[in-house]
C-alpha cells in the first residue's frame, strides 16, 4: 500500500526524524493561508501516488503567500500519470547545503532489508546507481539483531566526512529503520536528506510503501489509505480480495493464481488476441469472489469476451461454478463467456455449469483459442 509523502513524513517524524514544518491544503486559499502562517518561502507539492511529480510540474517553490496560492491553483486538479491531484503539501522550503539519498527496501536476493545510501541524492539517483555504483553503499540488516550502531555510523560516515553530520545521519538511520520495521514497510525512502548550511539534517521528502500482508496488524496504517488517489476499479477489486490490473485489450480474463494468469494472458496474445486485464482470484475461494470478479470485468466496455481459466487446487472449482451461476442469474451477461475448469471438485463444477446451461472445457489451449476467436467476432455458447 502506498501512502502520501506527508503521511510518510509524519510517520517518520513520530520516530524522531527531523522534517520541515508542513500542512495539507485542498484549495488555493488554504495554501495561501498556510504559507502566510509559516511566513517564509514554501514548497507546494502534489500529493499523489505517482513518481516523477517534480518533472510533471507538481512541485513548486513559492516566495510569497500569493505565489503559493497561484502555484496551488495550477497543481490542484492536475493529472499526474492518470491520477488527479486533490491535495497539496505546503511545507517550509529548506535551506539546502547538500542532498543525500537514503532508502531501505526488502531485497529478495539477500533476504533482508537493505539500506542504500548515497551522497549524490535527488531525483537522478537511479542514474547514479547505473553509472557510478561506487557512490552507493548497500548495507543489509539482519533483522534478528536489528540495525547496529556501527552499521548506522558506517552509513553516516559514507555520507558525511564531518563527524557531527555523520552522527546525526546515524541517528536518522536508526529512526528510519525503526519506522520501517514498526510500520511493516517494504520500502522507505528519504530523498533528499538535506544538510543545511547550518549543519542540520532534515528529511525534505519521504516515501513509504507498506507490505499489504502487514495491514492486519497495523490498523493505524491501514487508516492512512487514500482511496481517492487510486483507480476506482482497483479499489473495488482490492476490497473484494482480488488482484486486478486494467489493460487495453478485449479478452476479459478471470484466472486463479498469478502465474497461470500471466501464462493465460501470454497465450491470449500468442493466439492473436489482447487481454483486457490481469485478474487473479487468488487461493482460498468462495462464490462471492467470482461474482465480484464478473462485476468488475463487465464494467469495462472494451471487453468482448470473458475467459475463465481455473485450475483448482486450494480453489474449489465448484465454488467458481456456483459464483458464475449466481452472478449471471442476478445480472445476465451481455458478452459471451468461455469457461475452462479443471482440478479440485471438477466433476461437481461441470455438473453445476451444465445444469445451468453453460458449457465448459478442461483444456486451456482450446479455451484460449476459442475466447480469442469469440472476441474477434465469433460467439460462444
Amino acid at each position: 500500500m502506498n501512502i502520501h509523502e506527508y503521511q510518510a513524513k509524519e510517520l517518520l517524524h513520530g520516530f524522531g526524524v527531523p522534517i520541515p514544518n508542513g500542512k495539507i491544503a485542498t484549495t488555493p486559499a488554504e495554501a495561501e493561508a498556510i504559507a502566510k502562517e509559516f511566513g517564509v518561502a514554501v514548497m507546494v507539492k502534489a500529493q499523489v501516488h505517482a513518481g516523477g511529480r517534480g518533472k510533471a510540474g507538481g512541485v513548486k517553490f513559492c516566495k510569497t503567500p500569493a505565489d503559493a496560492r497561484e502555484k496551488a491553483t495550477a497543481i490542484l486538479g492536475m493529472q499526474i500519470k492518470g491520477l488527479t491531484v486533490e491535495k497539496v503539501l505546503v511545507t517550509v522550503a529548506a535551506d539546502i547545503g547538500s542532498e543525500a539519498y537514503v532508502g531501505i527496501i526488502v531485497d529478495r536476493q539477500r533476504k533482508k532489508p537493505v539500506f542504500m545510501v548515497s551522497a549524490a541524492g535527488g531525483i537522478d539517483i537511479e542514474q547514479v546507481a547505473a553509472q557510478t555504483p561506487e557512490k552507493i553503499l548497500y548495507l543489509p540488516v539482519d533483522t534478528r539483531y536489528g540495525l547496529r550502531g556501527y552499521e548506522a555510523m558506517r552509513m553516516g560516515f559514507f555520507l558525511y566526512r564531518d563527524v557531527k553530520l555523520a552522527k546525526q545521519a546515524a541517528k536518522i538511520m536508526q529512526q528510519l529503520y525503526s519506522a520501517f520495521m514498526a510500520s511493516g514497510c517494504s520500502l522507505a525512502e528519504i530523498n533528499p536528506l538535506v544538510a543545511t548550511p547550518a549543519g542540520e539534517l532534515i528529511a525534505v521528502d519521504g516515501k513509504m510503501v507498506i507490505d499489504d500482508n502487514e495491514l492486519d496488524r497495523h490498523a493505524e496504517i491501514e487508516a492512512l489509505r487514500d482511496v481517492s488517489s487510486e483507480a476506482a476499479s482497483e479499489v473495488d477489486a482490492r476490497n473484494c480480495n482480488l488482484t486486478f490490473i486494467k489493460l487495453d485489450g478485449n479478452v476479459g480474463c478471470v484466472v486463479n493464481g498469478a502465474g497461470l494468469a500471466m501464462a493465460t494472458m501470454d497465450l491470449v496474445k500468442y493466439y492473436g488476441g489482447e487481454p483486457a486485464n490481469f485478474l487473479d482470484i487468488g487461493g482460498s475461494s468462495n462464490p462471492e469472489k467470482v461474482v465480484n470478479a464478473l462485476r468488475i470485468i463487465t464494467a469495462d466496455a472494451n471487453v468482448k469476451c470473458i475467459l475463465f481459466n481455473i485450475f483448482g487446487g486450494i480453489t474449489r472449482t465448484d465454488d467458481v461454478a456456483n459464483g458464475i451461476v449466481t452472478a449471471t442469474k442476478a445480472n445476465p451477461l451481455k458478452v459471451p463467456i468461455v469457461i475452462r475448469l479443471t482440478g479440485t471438485n471438477e466433476e461437481i463444477a461441470m455438473k453445476i455449469l451444465t445444469d445451468n446451461g453453460f458449457s465448459a472445457s478442461a483444456d486451456m489451449d482450446e479455451a484460449v483459442k476459442k475466447a480469442v476467436a469469440t472476441a474477434k467476432g465469433g460467439k460462444a455458447a
Binding site: 539519498y101 532508502g103 531501505i104 527496501i105 526488502v106 529478495r108 536476493q109 533476504k111 533482508k112 532489508p113 537493505v114 542504500m116 539517483i125 537511479e126 546507481a129 547505473a130 539482519d142 533483522t143 534478528r144 520495521m181 511493516g184 514497510c185 517494504s186 520500502l187 525512502e189 530523498n191 510503501v209 507490505d211 499489504d212 500482508n213 502487514e214 492486519d216 496488524r217 490490473i245 493464481g257 498469478a258 502465474g259 497461470l260 500471466m262 501464462a263 494472458m265 501470454d266 497465450l267 491470449v268 500468442y270 490481469f278 487468488g282 487461493g283 482460498s284 481455473i310 485450475f311 483448482g312 487446487g313 486450494i314 480453489t315 479443471t342 482440478g343 479440485t344 486451456m364 489451449d365
Partner: protein, 290 residues
C-alpha cells in the same frame, strides 16, 4: 525415488481443523499420504476424522508420532510462528501453504530455519507431491502420475497446468515442487535442481519461472555449471505490463533485471529448452527423454 517426500514421510498438519487444513488433509489421506498427526492449540486429545490424533503443539506431535514433515495451513499472521515451531520441534521438512505472510516475518524465519539445518518450502506455495508416494500440500493428486520428470515452479496453478498436460501425455513425475512466489521463500530453484540432479529416478526437469527477480537467471547458471540432466523451462509474464516500480530503491536494487526476455535469454544460454506455451513442455520433455 523422489525428492523431499516419499513413502517414509510422516506428516503432521498444522492447522488441521481449519477450513483449508481439514479439506486438504482428507485429500492427502485419500492419496495415501501417511498423515500421523494434526496440531490445533486447544484441541489436543481430540482426533481428526476419528483417525488422526490432534495435539496442542508440534513438540507433542513429534514426541508421540515421530512426524518428520509438516504442512502449514494456519492464518498468515501465525504462519511464521508455526514454521519456527515445527523446526524447533525437530521437523526436517516444513511446507508452508499459507498465503499473505508478512515478508519482514520471513527475514527472521529464513535464518532460523537455516540455523537448524531444516528445509522450508514456501510460504505461499502449493506444496510438494511425489506421485503414488505422498502429497504434502494442495497439488491435486489426480493430475499426477509417477514417472521420470522432476517439476519445479514459482507459481501454483501454472504448475498444475503443466503437470496435467504431462500426465495426459503419459509422462509421469518423480516429484513436483511449488516453491512459491513470495519475495523470501525457504527453497529456491537451485535447491530443487540440485536435489533432482542427485535423484537417480529423475531423468529430466521441467522448470516454470516468472518475471521479476533473478532466481531464473541463477537457476540457469546452475544448470549450465552443475547439471547433467536435461531441463526445459518456461517464463510466465511475457505480455504482463511492467509493474509499478517501487520507489527509487526498487529501481536501484533490481536494475534492469527481471524481464521475461532476459530470463528466456539466460535459459537459452544455459542450454535449457524453452517452452513458449505451457503445452510445449510435452514435446520438449518427450524429446529429452528419448
Amino acid at each position: 525415488m523422489s525428492i523431499f517426500i516419499n513413502k517414509d514421510t510422516k506428516l503432521v498438519v498444522q492447522g488441521i481443523t481449519g477450513r483449508d487444513g481439514s479439506f486438504h488433509t482428507k485429500q492427502a489421506i485419500e492419496y495415501g499420504t501417511n498423515v500421523v498427526a494434526g496440531v490445533t492449540p486447544g484441541k489436543g486429545r481430540q482426533t481428526f476424522e476419528g483417525a488422526v490424533p490432534i495435539f496442542n503443539n508440534v513438540y507433542d506431535a513429534v514426541a508421540k508420532t515421530g512426524a518428520n514433515t509438516s504442512v502449514i495451513y494456519v492464518p498468515p499472521m501465525g504462519a511464521a510462528d508455526a514454521i519456527m515451531e515445527a523446526v524447533d520441534a525437530g521437523i526436517a521438512l516444513v511446507v508452508c501453504i499459507t498465503e499473505g505472510v508478512p515478508v519482514l516475518d520471513m527475514t527472521k524465519v529464513y535464518p532460523f530455519v537455516k540455523e537448524r539445518g531444516a528445509r522450508l518450502v514456501g510460504p505461499n506455495c502449493p506444496g510438494v507431491i511425489s506421485p503414488a508416494q505422498a502429497k504434502v500440500g494442495i497439488i491435486p493428486g489426480r493430475i499426477c502420475i509417477p514417472g521420470p520428470v522432476g517439476v519445479v515452479s514459482r507459481s501454483g496453478t501454472l504448475t498444475y497446468e503443466v503437470v496435467y498436460q504431462l500426465t495426459r501425455a503419459g509422462i509421469g513425475q518423480t516429484t513436483c515442487v511449488g516453491i512459491g512466489g513470495d519475495p523470501i521463500n525457504g527453497t529456491n530453484f537451485i535447491d530443487c535442481l540440485s536435489a533432482f540432479e542427485k535423484d537417480p529416478s529423475t531423468k529430466a526437469v521441467a522448470l516454470m519461472g516468472e518475471i521479476g527477480g533473478t532466481d531464473e537467471q541463477e537457476a540457469a547458471d546452475f544448470v549450465k555449471n552443475h547439471m547433467t540432466k536435461p531441463v526445459v523451462g518456461f517464463i510466465a509474464g511475457q505480455t504482463a505490463p511492467p509493474g509499478r516500480r517501487m520507489g527509487h530503491a526498487g529501481a536501484i536494487i533490481s536494475g534492469s533485471a527481471g524481464t521475461a526476455a532476459e530470463k528466456v535469454e539466460a535459459f537459452k544460454a544455459a542450454g535449457i529448452g524453452v517452452a513458449v506455451r505451457p503445452m510445449d513442455f510435452v514435446e520438449l520433455i518427450r524429446a529429452k527423454l528419448h
